[in-house]
Amino acid sequence: MAIATPPNPAAAERMERLELIWESRPGILGWLTTTDHKRIGLLYFWTTLALFGAGGAEALLIRTQLAQPNQHVVSPQTFDELFTMHGITMIFFFIIPMTTGAFGNYLLPLLLGARDMAFPRMNALSYWIFLASAVFIYTSLFIGKAPDAGWFNYVPLASKKYDPGHNIDFYCLGIIFNSIASTLTAGQFIVTILKSRAPGMSLNRMPLFCYAMLAASFGLLFALPSLSADTIFLFLDRNVGTHFFDPSHGGSTLLWQHLFWIFGHPEVYILIVPAFGIATSIIPAFTQRRLVAFPLVAIAELLVVFIGFGVWAHHMYTVGMPTVSMVFFAAATAMVIIPSTIQVFAWCMSFVTGLPTFRTPLLFIAGFIFMFVTGGLTGIMFVAIPFDQQVTDTYFVIAHFHYIIFGAAVFPIFGGMYYWFPKVTGKLYFERPGQISFWLIFLGTNLLFFPMHIVGLLGMTRRVYTYPSGIGWTAYNLAETIGGFVTLGGILVLLGNLAVSYFRGPPSGPDPWRGPTLEWTTSSPPPEYDFAVIPRVTSAYPNWDPADREADRLKLADGVLMLERGHEQPEVTPVDGRLARVAHMPHESPWPAVLALALALLFTMLLIDRWGTAGIMGIVCLLALVGWHMQEPEEE
């Protein structure tokens, strides 16, 4: 029931006014200055997809080098840069920006029944900063100075003494730069979810996707400062001469590890929780059933991140901590699993009691459950401290977290691409190639990652650029490499399928799946203002409440709640979603892009030790902010 065709002339006239108020500037300039969450979401999507390609290429180079013992496909230095950049790229420049930046930006307002994010210009800023930071860090690779001490970047290996080049400075500044973008995204997601919901969407009627995004945003908000503090310390140690990490002057190398993993472990959950959100959107649509145990799943998504802040030291069991300290983190590690088991069985029971139609999106979710459970079960093994100390820093751990990160984070991303493709493009994808792509990726990844468990147990350590023959590692490594290329094939089929469908696919209409949430109530692709009428919400599955949709249609006819007077959207009370006020939204603005550019120059100056110029750039940033705030949302 798209609200594309107005029921009467009066409504038609009001909708024209909406069109006029919300329509965005045409051409390149429109994209440079856009504040439309859908456009920003698409910008994020294409950028992160490109970076996914880069990270994947690095991964395949690594696998090629390791396909056989004692190979020299790449030099040791190149290998170190490759696995470092692979980690940085996939975590900071693919999964986080893809799930939050792309999926979150495009979908959150649509699922919340809002017309845009709470802070549209901040949203644009986060994208431009993200883009700049990606360019910044990849410059290092092209000038042959890429970070080479691993994404975990332990000191003293990363200190000036053992890594004198600019490689690690690129790491510090690039990470700080990128985390500004993520913090902006997280912050405004939280405010959007709390304040910009459709009136009536109280916390017990908010879609689980939004809970997942809320959890991930809180995670980012509270985890990133720890990483920033860490990288600031390291940057000062390297370039000012402080002694945070220098034991000979009262510093501690373990301080780096603690701060890093206080960020690093919540990070893991930040990566997969949005994927949970995607899964909890797809499962109801393709089982035609509300998700089982809604309140438990909602809290589980928040809990996994919350408890995830208390387990960081299980990455450091081998550094010689007191047993008692380790046990503290082991206990939390043991129980952080419960929220995940709750969700797994809620998903499975929804499959069992619903009417599952195994189209491609649901196939990817089924595959995701399989991969997530496999990776989760090896995760449970790390509760056993002695076993963790035995296999940590071996391929067993690589297997574990790739089952989690590729299996549990990337599978739902693929499933989500298929699921929301009709909404974004207005076209249907082709089913048969879709299923082929799933099976290729599923078999490929298992062939790629499963043998890693075994070589890990056989003693193959991580981050080695080659390995001797005759220790029984060769066959498994070859299998992994083959699996890698099979996976590549599957991904190419997937992208090809979507590309062809974009041009040749049959029209989808507003709601091809009988989806449960609000995005399916508006036309595909959605209009700039998302919803002609601020929708009425009385459950977490609004599109399955015909009465409410009928009410919307009537409101459209009478022109109620269309807010066609100005660039407006309602604000609600954070808990029970009562209408609080009508907020005036800002228009397109060039300043976010300008500010991001100034910041990029600032960081470049810091990199090449031009402190004075950096200061000037800082002032430029402040001026840009002033200019930004010259333009206020107009009052009518």
Binding site: A118, F119, M122, T183, A186, G187, Q188, I190, V191, K195, S196, P199, G200, L221, F222, L224, P225, S226, S228, A229, D230, I232, F233, L236, V240, G241, T242, H243, F244, D246, H249, G250, G251, S252, L255, H258, L259, R536, A551, D558, G559, V560, L561, M562, L563, E571, T573, P574, R578, L579, A580, R581, V582, A583, H584, V626, H629, E632, P633, E635
Partner: protein, 193 residues
């Protein structure tokens, strides 16, 4: 669900206020990490502060702290005045707060450079974390000062709903910075214990 398309009734706090709260949460976490590092390093050293470094001064910082805290009052009054649309009063209170805050900041910068002559940031881990923590706190005071300058500039051209929200948000920022400064001084002075 009656027709409230024209409703302009205002319940609860504006998104701007929530946005500022988020910024504060993020910055406080950063300070939390600094403070955690402070104690982590402290636990690892037998003497704290290390030999040859004077214990942090007690009296002057506390007086300064008191001075900074007094500015919470005018900020609060400014926010109230803004909420009730009293422009002149808002400007007055903001200006008042700004003067004191600038004075505080000026003295702190002077004191900071003085201490640097005493013992340098590159001396050891203590000096590193000490100056980082102190400097970060001063930076946040400076940011607040800039906020106030900008806001006063805005208010020269009267009120808009946007500027009223800004006043509330910036007042909130100052409450947070005051608390933050108390905590930071508390941590640094704990070296005397």
């Amino acid at each position: 669900m009656t027709s409230y398309a024209d409703t302009r009734d205002v319940v609860g706090r504006p998104a701007a206020w929530w946005g500022m709260l988020i910024l504060i949460a993020s910055e406080s976490t950063l300070f939390g990490c600094f403070i955690g590092s402070y104690y982590y390093l402290r636990f690892r050293s037998a003497t704290w502060p290390p030999h040859g470094i004077p214990e942090p001064k007690l009296v002057v910082p506390l007086i300064l702290l008191a001075v900074l805290l007094t500015t919470v009052v005018p900020m609060r009054l400014a926010a109230k005045a803004a909420a009730t649309g009293r422009l002149a009063a808002t400007r007055l209170f903001l200006a008042l707060a700004l003067v004191v805050q600038s004075g505080y900041f000026a003295y702190e910068v002077h004191d900071f450079s003085d201490q640097l002559h005493g013992f340098d940031i590159t001396r050891d881990a203590y000096s590193s974390i000490y100056y980082t923590l102190l400097g970060a706190d001063h930076a946040h005071v400076l940011l607040g000062v800039l906020f106030n300058v900008w806001l006063l500039g805005k208010l020269t051209r009267g009120f808009t709903r946007y500027r009223i929200h800004a006043t509330r948000a910036i007042a909130l920022y100052w409450y947070a910075v005051s608390v933050l400064t108390i905590v930071v001084y508390g941590v640094l002075l704990s070296a005397r214990a």
